[in-house]
């Protein structure tokens, strides 16, 4: 197990390098630059700025300089947000996004898994149909629609929830709900289908023949086998959700990482683009590793090689 994890970590260093290199190349293929605004600065100012940030050097030298600094743990300063380093921006943004994202995933699992189980146990009955319809809607409706509808109901009509900011617990309700909607629906559908498959397995019949109650059959014998597809889905979901959703953050004016990610691209904030991309890639790689290890713990038949 330890050897396996060490191997995966080593491999992920290579993956990250690849991600960084490709991002670097793509970034400069996009026309424009960080200092071009509506009011174009004078040629002399532009030259001075480019020189200051080393953007006047050949791309290959810039690449080398970035990599050397990155290895030393320095992701540079933001080209757009003067005076703030990339690591500062990422860490403050991530704290906000992770809080909202983490809560919404927690809710998605806590609601999605039981809903899926209930649907599977009532297969073909009205409760199952209701859950399927709701879950299908949840997958079909994008988060900005959910967010807008929530705002109309709770802020505009009822006036009980604030529309922007993150200063009290009430502020969290709507963004978390909007973010949790899709994964809840997705998890309940996944859970339903895998639960149906497990319920038809021979070992469930054995469990019944032992005299176990339905509760224990479900919780001990079925759930652990049926949860694997959900775990697979959770890995990348956690990575994406923790790093924030641009749409939801924009709607509720939350200073999260999702916002910073998208605006860095729009602004051609080269160091920020690199920093956020590598951060997201690292998180995805980490979550995939966690999922694989979790697999092994849940199902002993799986061999980690």
């Amino acid at each position: 197990m330890v050897r396996y994890i060490a191997k995966r970590v080593l491999l992920s260093v290579f993956t990250l390098w690849l991600v960084a290199t490709i991002t670097f190349a793509l970034m400069f293929m996009v026309p424009g630059g960080p200092f071009l605004a509506e009011k174009t600065p004078s040629a002399a100012t532009l030259e001075a700025l480019n020189q200051k940030y080393g953007l006047d050097q050949p791309k290959i030298v810039q690449y080398r300089n970035y990599m050397v600094k990155f290895i030393q743990g320095d992701m540079g300063v933001s080209l757009k947000q003067r005076g703030r380093t990339v690591s500062q921006i990422i860490s403050t943004g991530f704290k906000v996004s992770a809080k909202i994202g983490g809560l919404s995933i927690l809710i998605a699992v806590l609601i999605g898994v039981p809903l899926g189980c209930i649907a599977a146990l009532n297969r073909g009955k009205w409760l199952d149909n209701v859950i399927i319809v709701v879950a299908t809607c949840g997958i079909a409706v994008p988060s900005f629609v959910v967010a807008t509808i929530l705002m109309i109901i709770f802020s505009v009509k009822l006036g009980i929830l604030p529309t922007y900011g993150l200063t009290s617990w009430q502020h969290y309700l709507m963004p978390v709900a909007a973010l949790a909607f899709y994964p809840t629906a997705y998890i309940s559908r996944l859970m339903r289908s895998s639960m149906l498959e497990v319920l038809g397995q021979d070992y469930m019949r054995t469990a019944r023949a032992k005299g176990l109650s339905q509760f224990w059959m479900l919780f001990k014998h079925a759930l652990r086998n049926a949860i694997l597809p959900v775990v697979t889905y959770l890995g990348p979901l956690i990575a994406y959700t923790l790093t924030g959703s641009f749409v939801v953050e924009k709607i509720f004016t939350i200073p999260g990482l999702g916002n910073a990610f998208i605006s860095s691209i729009l602004n051609r904030d080269y160091t920020m683009i690199m920093g956020t991309t590598i951060f997201l890639a690292a998180l995805i790689i980490l979550m995939n590793l966690v999922v694989d290890v979790a697999y092994k713990i849940i199902d002993p038949r799986i061999k980690l090689k």
Binding site: Q201, R205, A209, K210, N225, I298, D299, R301
Partner: protein
């Protein structure tokens, strides 16, 4: 005289499917005394497993008992609630399934799965349950039982897994063990070992066994009584010697003809039973075997024959026997 353990009287059971009612069991009657070994033979879909499962109420919810009674060990099974049924399952009656490869939960250790049933039906604590589990594993002939307790099903061979299933079934010393084709999924050498083990255990523990199989060889070795089933009906019932040496029903005769014999000459072909099994959605009106029977008479297609008693405890439902009886009666008069 040993006690009556299982008494099934005129059980009728149907599956209510979208395609219609499937009459899976029609007037099944079985009596078993303590220590009896009963073989139920018949082809696929004849209702062997359904009969056994209905004793444990293990059928899917589409299957309902619509007539008759099942009494087991002092319980009227028909009237029992699911909650009370749970106290019997795995405790007073347990079952071994056909496919040991899929009958154990892949994510729990052998020890966990054996202890589960012990803790469920007895007051033993975790440590005592583990001791009992180890004892059971050595009872069913598994070497290094202590080590096996910590292993997962996928680490054991098919034969070993079936032994584990037997250990689980025997954990609470049931009065009745149902073996639903316990060797069908195993290869021949392992089959013999598992059967030998079951015979041994029966002698050691004195429980009753219902052996469901389509292998007549197994039945001959193990059972005292045989019920031959066809299309949800017991067509012949009797002691093993009677069935093998004095078969009366045409279906039983056909089954026996289709067993390969070592003594036969090489070029003698096996005699199969021609035709296909009955469509249970539209069973024929008379004797279900009539369409495939070589000696089919007019009445066979119209009415179901009653049982004729041939010898003590040997019953068969065939018009030929009724006719013979009638003719004999006629001669006497």
């Amino acid at each position: 005289m040993s006690e009556l353990l299982l008494n099934i009287q005129n059980e009728r059971l149907s599956f209510f499917t979208p395609a219609g009612e499937v009459k899976a069991l029609n007037d099944i009657s079985i009596q078993m005394y303590e220590g009896d070994v009963l073989g139920i033979v018949g082809e696929s879909g004849s209702g062997k497993s359904v009969t056994a499962y209905s004793i444990m109420q293990l059928l899917p919810h589409t299957g309902r008992i619509i007539g008759g009674t099942i009494d087991f060990n002092g319980h009227r099974i028909n009237d029992m609630t699911e909650q009370n049924m749970r106290k019997i399952r795995g405790n007073e009656v347990s079952i071994i399934f056909q496919d040991p490869m899929t009958s154990l939960n892949p994510v729990y250790t052998i020890g966990n799965q054996i202890c589960e049933v012990i803790k469920l039906h007895t007051n033993k604590n975790k440590k005592q349950a583990l001791e009992r589990a180890e004892e059971l594993l050595s009872l069913v002939g598994i070497n290094e039982p202590r080590k096996r307790l910590k292993q997962y099903p996928h680490e054991l061979s098919g034969g070993m897994r079936q032994r584990v299933m037997i250990a689980i079934a025997l954990a609470c010393e049931p009065k009745l063990l149902i073996a639903d084709e316990p060797t069908t999924a195993l290869d021949v050498t392992i089959q013999a070992q598992i059967l030998e083990l079951m015979i041994d255990l029966k002698e050691q523990l004195g429980m009753s066994i219902i052996m469901i199989t389509h292998d007549l060889g197994i039945v001959a070795n193990m059972c005292q009584k045989i019920a031959v089933m066809y299309a949800g009906k017991i067509v012949e019932y009797g002691p093993v010697d009677e069935i093998f040496y004095n078969p009366q029903h045409e279906y039983t005769k056909g089954l026996l003809r289709s067993i390969p014999k070592l003594s036969e000459k090489e070029h003698n072909r096996l005699v199969p039973i021609e035709g296909t099994p009955v469509d249970m959605l539209n069973p024929p009106k008379g004797c279900p075997f009539a369409p495939r029977c070589d000696s089919c008479m007019k009445i066979c297609l119209r009415e179901m024959p009653q049982y004729t008693t041939i010898n003590d405890g040997h019953l068969s439902a065939c018009w030929l026997l009724q006719k013979k009886e009638f003719m004999q009666g006629g001669e006497e008069n």
